[in-house]
């Protein structure tokens, strides 16, 4: 269930759902927010929990926005001034709706519905905070894997269709597990060293690359 951006109201601090194991991971002050094409809102405080990102305005502590990590499909550090004038953490938000190619020309003047906002930028007043902000987003994203990850994995196996019929014959013992001239079978010759040499199993393709040891004087031995 994708929820996108939600407007929230609370008394000064966000209320966490501790019953479901939600806990605060980091609080970062001095963060501005830009939702989609809406104007930049500042200043504010970012509350990052293991489930969601909450931004509360410093001007009006009861107003803010929240996005579940499950709704954040991408997050990245943006330092390219052509993409956005200020260094920021850029996120794409899964709104759960297919992108409509047609945009109503009148809709530009209509305030955007928050649930349709597909991008969010978080702009720290101190750009050096970006890397730590990105790191905590990475950590929380790992804690929130897609619930349907692995769906359809049963189709991931490749096997030959004509082998399906072999199963019954094999169970009845018609297929020998010891083909007479199969490579690798000792066939009575238990000199494994020789067998391995014949198979070139000890050839260089299986050797680990030897690490060069530095003597400290710039030479290797």
């Amino acid at each position: 269930m994708v929820s996108g951006v939600r407007e929230i109201s609370c008394s000064g601090e966000p209320v966490l759902d501790s019953d479901s194991g939600e806990e605060l991971m980091q609080v970062q002050a001095g963060i501005d927010i830009v939702l989609g094409d809406l104007p930049r809102q500042s200043p504010g405080t970012l509350y990052i929990t293991n489930k969601q990102v909450i931004w509360l305005s410093d001007l009006d502590k009861t107003k803010g926005y929240a996005v579940d990590f499950l709704s954040i499909s991408l997050h990245a550090v943006s330092r390219d001034p052509e993409a956005y004038p200020l260094p920021c953490l850029y996120t794409q938000i899964d709104t759960g709706e297919a992108d409509d190619d047609h945009t109503d020309s009148e809709s530009i003047h209509i305030p955007q519905d928050l649930s349709n906002i597909a991008e969010m930028r978080l702009i720290p007043s101190d750009p050096t905070q970006l890397d730590s902000l990105f790191a905590i987003f990475c950590q929380c994203a790992e804690l929130n894997p897609e619930p349907n990850d692995g769906e359809g994995e049963e189709h991931g196996w490749f096997f030959s269709a004509d082998q399906m019929g072999d199963e019954e014959a094999e169970e009845e013992g018609y297929i020998s597990h010891h083909p007479a001239n199969s490579i690798g079978h000792s066939n009575g010759n238990h000199d494994l060293a020789r067998t391995i040499l014949e198979l070139q199993i000890n050839d260089q393709r299986f050797e680990d690359a030897e690490e060069m040891e530095d003597n400290g004087d710039g030479t290797n031995r």
Partner: protein, 88 residues
């Protein structure tokens, strides 16, 4: 449609080696992270190199040269380091 893409993916390197072993019932030589070698035929595989192998000769040289035969086994892909096709 998705299965077609997957088949196309398996028809290109590096999974092509496994694909050919499945289709032609040829042997592959697999080096594992524990430095053991597996020589056998691939019955099935997925994109993670998880494999169902048949008629496998497991060979190791430490501390002494030894081997054993395994008629059917599942090999988890994260232990695979090298796959050689048709070792001669």
């Amino acid at each position: 449609m998705e299965e077609d893409n997957e088949e196309e993916e398996f028809n290109t390197e590096p999974l092509f080696v496994l694909m050919m072993s499945v289709k032609n019932n040829t042997q592959v030589l697999i080096n594992c992270q524990n430095n053991k070698k597996l020589l056998g035929r691939v019955r099935a595989f997925d994109r993670n190199c998880n494999m169902v192998l048949e008629n496998v000769r497991e060979i190791w040289t430490e501390p002494v040269n030894k081997d054993r035969f395994i008629s059917k086994m599942f090999l988890r892909g994260d232990s695979v380091t090298i796959v050689l096709r048709n070792p001669k």
